[in-house]
Symmetry: D2
């Protein structure tokens, strides 16, 4: 009897290594899949480990460029921040990983997908919804939701014992008092000591960004040039360096912004499944781009289009956070947002300094800013008297309302 194939989202760590062995034990043929979205990882070592543990095949897929171009860029065009604050470094990576993994599953003829996400988090939702959308017939094995698995592995110690018993190599390193998820856009920290939202995070926790207090005493000046809402080049005005190319530019901004301690947040957020959680995030390059892009929009986008787009962006952020990238509504919303970006071209000038992103100027040949019109010194094509009628008509309804109020003695 030929066994069923499972494609397992593999990280090389303790959890997914135990899951790999457990799946084999359960009778599956396991193919491991690692998406390289820029996380700190020795992919070759992990691949070798997977094969050694019994995986039929082990794949590593470089998704870095498409992560930036197909996921981070649309997020940037939307100014997407979940609940106004979280730039969604994890939420944007999931659909990128899922897309590649599903492609692999189809190539391998696998009907099963497995992952090591927990049963309380957002990632199980994001990952699985994406899989169901892209591969409607797929079956998902989520061990951390299976009674059998949960009964067997009740905490880290059980995993350690199982690893020892099954020759799964364990890193000697003491684990951190928090869990983290990293990719080229950000690192998120949660759980462990962070579970109490009133416990301050440790300054040595962050790894992409310098502590602002230890950042350079001298600001660094950058100019970012956008076309259609997408960054095309970054110029360092201090050393003259100019970086282009989506991935290169993003990594460069990570480096510079990280050096200046930019992009840390410590927040409480509402998970899709309805519980509140606390997360600390560092998103150096992304934070700089978000601020710059938003600034450029104000220069180049019509006021009322901006209002409509702001509404759509709130929807988009929720869709992405809730794992619905491949939903009809997200496809639709992305299309509408993209439409709003046609004129968002120009350059934003800013400086980075000890955690601050300070915008100092912006310019665009798509600017809707009319210096003559707004000037206090020139009339331009404007008749001040018009404002009187404008004000009086705007006040008409308010006066009527007060008239009625008075009529009724309030």
């Amino acid at each position: 009897m030929s066994k069923d194939t499972v494609v397992l989202a593999y990280s090389g760590g303790l959890d997914t290594s135990c899951i790999l062995v457990w799946l084999i034990e359960k009778g599956y043929k396991v193919v491991t899949f690692q998406a390289d979205v820029g996380q700190e990882e020795d992919f070759e070592a992990a691949k070798a480990k997977a094969l050694k543990l019994g995986a039929e095949k082990a794949f590593v897929c470089d998704c870095k460029k498409e992560f930036v171009e197909d996921f981070i860029w649309p997020g940037l065009q939307a100014n997407a921040k979940y609940e106004g604050r979280y730039p969604m470094g994890t939420a944007l990576a999931r659909p990128c990983i899922a897309r590649n993994m599903i492609e692999r599953a189809k190539l391998e003829g696998a009907k099963y997908i497995s992952h090591g996400a927990t049963g309380k988090g957002n990632d199980q939702v994001r990952f699985e919804i994406a899989c169901y959308a892209l591969y409607p017939g797929v079956q998902i094995i989520a061990p951390w939701r299976e009674d059998e698995f949960l009964a067997r592995f009740n905490g880290r110690n059980d995993l350690m014992e199982y690893a020892a018993a099954n020759n799964i190599p364990i890193k000697a390193s003491k684990s951190d008092p928090w869990s983290m998820d990293d990719n080229l856009m950000h690192i998120s920290y949660e759980a462990g000591m962070l579970e109490d939202p009133n416990t301050e995070s440790r300054s040595d926790m962050y790894t992409m960004t310098c502590d602002p207090e230890k950042a350079p005493d001298k600001p660094e000046r950058l100019s970012i040039y956008f076309e259609g809402g997408i960054p095309i080049s970054v110029t360092n005005k201090d050393d003259g360096a100019k970086v282009t190319g989506a991935l290169e530019l993003f990594l460069y901004l990570n480096k510079i912004a990280g050096k200046h301690g930019v992009g840390r947040i410590d927040i409480v957020e509402n998970r899709f499944i309805g519980m509140k959680s606390r997360g600390c995030y560092e998103t150096p390059g992304g934070s700089v781009l978000l601020d710059a892009h938003e600034d450029l929009e104000l220069l180049t986008m019509d006021k009322e289009i901006r209002r409509l787009k702001e509404y759509l962006s709130v929807q988009f952020s929720t869709q992405v956070y809730e794992g619905k990238w491949y939903s009809p509504e997200c496809e639709y919303t992305r299309g509408c947002i993209a439409k709003s970006q046609e004129g968002v071209s120009g350059t934003v000038h800013l400086k980075l300094y000890k955690g601050n992103i300070m915008i100092t100027g912006r310019e665009s040949d798509q600017s809707l800013y009319n210096q003559e019109l707004v000037s206090m010194d020139v009339a331009g094509d404007y008749q001040p008297r018009d404002a009187q009628g404008f004000i009086r008509i705007n006040a008409l309804r308010l006066r009527e309302f007060q008239r009625l109020k008075k009529l009724h003695g309030n």
Copy 2:
């Protein structure tokens, strides 16, 4: 024939002094009115000047406390920022000033109100709409929109000459290459050299806040305690100082936050009348409170109430920016927002450092954060298996959509 009385919003400066004399020249009896909303001003000197120039009466009205309690606090409860960025220090002050001035006009039996706002700005709109709403029969004299006045005073030189000819004392001081508006919440800078949105502002322009680069090298830690979305006390964790009282607390935060260079922004915004303008703002204490309040909301407010309130807040910000504080819709929106604040009580801990507001923790006995529920180590009252059904039902519609797409070969 008895002359008509005008109440003039007076600042003591060149413009409104010339308007004062011009109104008298036109045959009006002029009563000057100065609202003290915390701006830097020698009110007694200005009052004396007005009387000397011929004002029948000159009033100064201390509105500082009510500005904080009746206007800044509702703005804070709403997390109000126009177009997501501007905390609206000017827009919140106008209805406070107008209310007191209209009260004065009624007491004086004046049918006319006059002010020195320009014909291109937001303030004429805010000021006049408020006046029309509160005093429907009022007539407004806006010299900077009157052809006769504009013909006579074509620029600053004409004002200077008129002042000289009419014994209007002029400060010797050279005027700044920008115009500013200040109150206890903020200072705004615009026009002049700032009219080019690509010209960097000068570091010596700001006066409420220290340049972040020159701010103290040591962070300062504060705890802010809120009840029902309103700050009740601020505790300085470094020196133990504790400040209560709306006005005192706000001024204290201004001082500390200003010292640490917190609250500067440089933006392009869309004026109500439809033109884009560029403004630089410093809002030290307000910025700290806005960040802290928003953080506390995430801890204590239900996810879906927050979403509804976010929508209402965007509306509220537009209403206030557009001068419609006394409109039916703003009254309604404030009521709805106030309703959302009932449980927003608790303490936010943060530190200020060279322009940064870093939130380090938050606690509340109204917290909806359930540490046991979210914990990775405890199951709490949660069955991981439920997530599977949740995900699968959420994916149902997406799978249907893909099914149809495939049916039609896309």
Copy 3:
């Protein structure tokens, strides 16, 4: 060992009678509960049947008045129609039923609740979410989702056989080729022959409303008087009858509107769980009230409050449709909507004729309609010249946009 008590939502029909016996078979003590929300039912007979089948106790609870006052009225104030069309007769009844049933469960010390709703519908969701909210520790037995039950009862025949074997009396009547749910607000029809959205419903299906083609040839005129958005009295202008009292008035409108064939719709809608379904509904009295109330709002509610309220109403309709009446957001939204109704008082005049609700006039001493202001024959307190400035300032941004377009050659 004492057995656990289940409170079963009982209808007296085949399904819930089988469930009752099955639950006893499974070892539960069963208490049946019937909420009288105005459905066509011989409650006493059903009660007797339940006791005969082995129920420990059988309760019937008259919820008609509270259904109208606490659920239909808030729905009316919101002008609530799901997806713009469905007045939610079922969705509004569920939280009313659940509230009373949970109260009963607590009195009986029951930890279990059971119902006969299917596993594909909205009602399971509405019912259970309400139960979980009001009685967080409750356990729910939904036989139509249980593998064991589904295996045993695969279709109507199995139920019939089980009934025969267990002395469950079955009505001789042939079942309709659709299923229905009725209460005093409406009857819904779905499933069976209606499952094909292109099959026309049969004219004899509807029971609360006359076929418009067979309705009286003479219209009937009513006046409905509202206070604070709630109907207080209905006057029949043809025969002079005047009806007051929430329940009496609603039933009276059902009768008159039903006679004139008013309130039928045939729609496709989106269920909460993500599938589309087709439903036919008749909501005679509710439809009249919804039209009248909406009309009165336009007379008495400020334009911009109406816009905000319209947004909130869309949210409210979704919340209620999705079973979240007892959610924080729905409580909040109801509060905001109630606030908007303060001035919605006055009388709407209308006539009913063969399916039509024709509004003929409306009056209110809270009217914001100012006949003098709007008149073409009187100027009122209005200066036509003001409109020019209003228009020109409104056009400013549009002209700027065209200017930029031309600049770029489009």
Copy 4:
């Protein structure tokens, strides 16, 4: 000195004939322009009259087809109804008329545009904003807002006298006690006896639609086929007639729907300038199409796209009502709405009967309705057990909220 040219929006009636003569008197060269958008009018007679009264040139422009295709169709795709009720027959015609008139003005080298709209209405705003957007340098002469004109023509009698004195032919017909505006989409009635919102309109007022009470006793059945949200053909199932072509189809629906008394409304609405007005409208064909289109959307459009689109449609309706068709935001919104229509193809079956539009069925090969999935008799690809997890996770947040409430004793 060569005189300036004015293009006058001419109707042939008393008002614009007087304006024509008055403009000539004021020294302008007048070119009259009549847009044929389907109103009842003898265009040739009006043209001759204009020339006889001194117009330099007189143009009639057939805009009927483009009115339907470029304006009514986008309105239909949006399901656009202002304030949920008014299908905007006038508001949709204005930008069509303005576009053609501006084109004419440019061809004639005219810098002036004039019209006979009053100073209190929406039409002045719609007309002029469109003109300013399309022809930024244009100057507008709106006599009914000019003090000089208003002083001279104080009511209808003055116009009559002026007409007599200037050989302006006047129709003998007694004027109606209301004013009306008609085009092929609708007729609106307002003012006069309708100014009191409590006065019932006269049954003989309407002209496009039969009184429902006098309409045929037999319903008529139609099938309307749409592609991409646009009606392609109408089939009369009673007589087999099939009509295609945008204009032909629309006129055909007007005829049939008018015959059956479909499309009358009597409402109070909020004008852009802030006053409430009362209008009666008849929109026979448009009402049928709006109902049918909305129904088809529910069959073919994803639930969440529909929600987003519903929001956009509310915005679109306001934009159009307020005369901002040629604004950046309306262009943007139309684009987004058009995007939502891609799959809105299929056939809606309905019958018309004495004022009722009764939808009886709908079908589409783009249907997202899955009969097997929704069926009560078949499981389809659906596991009822999933609903349990879905419900429980949805209830999680609600239970938490109640937990906190209880904690605080409410």
